[in-house]
Symmetry: none
DNA sequence: GGTAGTAACTGGTCTAGATGACTTGACCAG
DNA sequence: CTGGTCAAGTCATCTAGACCAGTTACTACC
């Protein structure tokens, strides 16, 4: 039936080994072991090693340079405004994402939330109030609303570890969305949770995510501005699989 | 030396054949020829075909479904994240954009500016300090730096009304760039210009714009957060080469 | 000293197979 | 009609090599 030997796949072993190297030992510009060395170390063929490296190159973690080697990519924190989950974003930055659920349950849609989700006011919503961590440091306070009618049984087994994983499992992966971003002052509750002083600036991000025509998630987050910077690439040419030129100096 | 037989590489031939199919004959959800059929048609091995298909999957052009086939991916909503310019943003809200030049001239590149523009510290830069208005109300304080060597005579006829128009006239239209966004506190100068209290939150946006490989503009802006919200349409990230769950609906 | 060549690395492309996992449809038994 | 089995087709993973192309360092020659 459900064979989840995922992690026993050889290329994933190699990939995760490399990812571990990058986040723990290496710095941008450092070379990773050559493909042939990895073949030997893991007892796999070169194509398998290349598959592992490919995955990390596509992710922007590594960069290949023909004739010289493969290097840890500079933190051009390609992490973008994409509809990636917080966990994905932090993982890409080499941090460990954590989350603490402060509250969860069903609520009736307030007018502003209803409008954002394009549902009728008073409709039943799933509400999550969470505190997000990066490397055990509080990073953001987040409120998330999801239309309950589209997610039956969402809270039945406790709070899902990841909203996006849960949406994925239901085939409701968002394909587009929009963020609005502004700066604000931390209120008392946010300040306490984020361990900053009330009135200090926070980056507020409201996100609407859609699956096809229907809104599936609306969230409001307040990020500590001293620890979080948003990167937005603007109209960048398609990087494709082809290797990019290099700037770092190993 | 420079061998650009690029297009004679087999996997590129296969890739471009598939790309042609997608744009000319097939519609989203349609299956492309199976990998083994492509092997036969082009007389190449399966790995080569997979390399071609991989490239298109990474680009988001195709989607693989194990056991069923490979299909044309549904159209992307918006390939790139795109930030509206200040003027566009104001127009969208039915406001009139204005600008006042506070200072202009030549400066030597400070280390941080030099790094952002990828020039040597101390290199000559054109510097503009401007205050931006929306409906005659101050909205943002902006510093802009441009490499003087690439823009001879830029300030000779006074301050250009629009930096972008001037760049356009010289064929130096930026084709890509990146913004970093965070929240900060207004310093005294900013507060005075924006007519807010010092320490109040401002949205800080740093923008680097590139023409080809060379940086052409670097700017830092501080926006009044009580009057300005950034709006960012977001597209879904490209699926990685690696794990795929079902999404296609042929 | 400088220069050209060369050897030993690196990643880039490619072959010709193998096995496994998943989906679909045809077929058969209840 | 329903449910199960089975085969054929698909993509997923993997092997053990091959040669090409770019980079670097060292060496031998001028």
């Amino acid at each position: 039936m459900l064979s989840l030997r995922r992690s026993t796949l050889k290329y994933l072993q190699v990939r995760d080994y490399l990812r571990g190297l990058v986040v723990s030992e290496l710095r941008p510009g450092d070379p990773v072991p050559s493909e042939r060395m990895l073949c030997e170390r893991f007892g796999v063929s070169r194509m398998t090693v290349r598959q592992a490296v490919d995955a990390l190159v596509v992710e922007g973690v590594l960069e290949r340079v023909q004739g010289r080697g493969t290097f840890v990519a500079p933190p051009k924190v390609d992490l973008q405004v994409r509809l990636a989950s917080f966990t994905e974003e932090m993982t890409r930055r080499g941090m460990t994402a954590g989350v603490k659920v402060l509250a969860s349950g069903f609520v009736r849609a307030e007018p502003d939330i209803a409008e954002a989700l394009k549902v009728a006011p008073g409709e039943e919503l799933i509400h999550l109030h969470r505190l997000r961590f990066a490397d055990d440091e509080p990073m953001a306070v987040e409120h998330t609303w999801l239309p309950a009618v589209r997610l039956p049984g969402f809270l039945d087994d406790g709070i899902p570890a990841s909203v996006y994983v849960e949406l994925d499992a239901r085939g409701l992966v968002p394909d587009w969305g929009e963020d609005t971003i502004d700066a604000g002052e931390a209120d008392h509750e946010e300040a306490k949770l984020l361990m900053i002083k009330p009135g200090k600036p926070v980056l507020r991000i409201s996100r609407r995510a859609f699956t096809g025509d229907a809104a599936i998630e609306y969230s409001r987050s307040a990020f500590r501005s001293d620890r979080y910077t948003l990167w937005v690439p603007v109209a960048r040419p398609n990087p494709s699989v082809v290797p990019r030129r290099r700037t770092a100096t190993p």
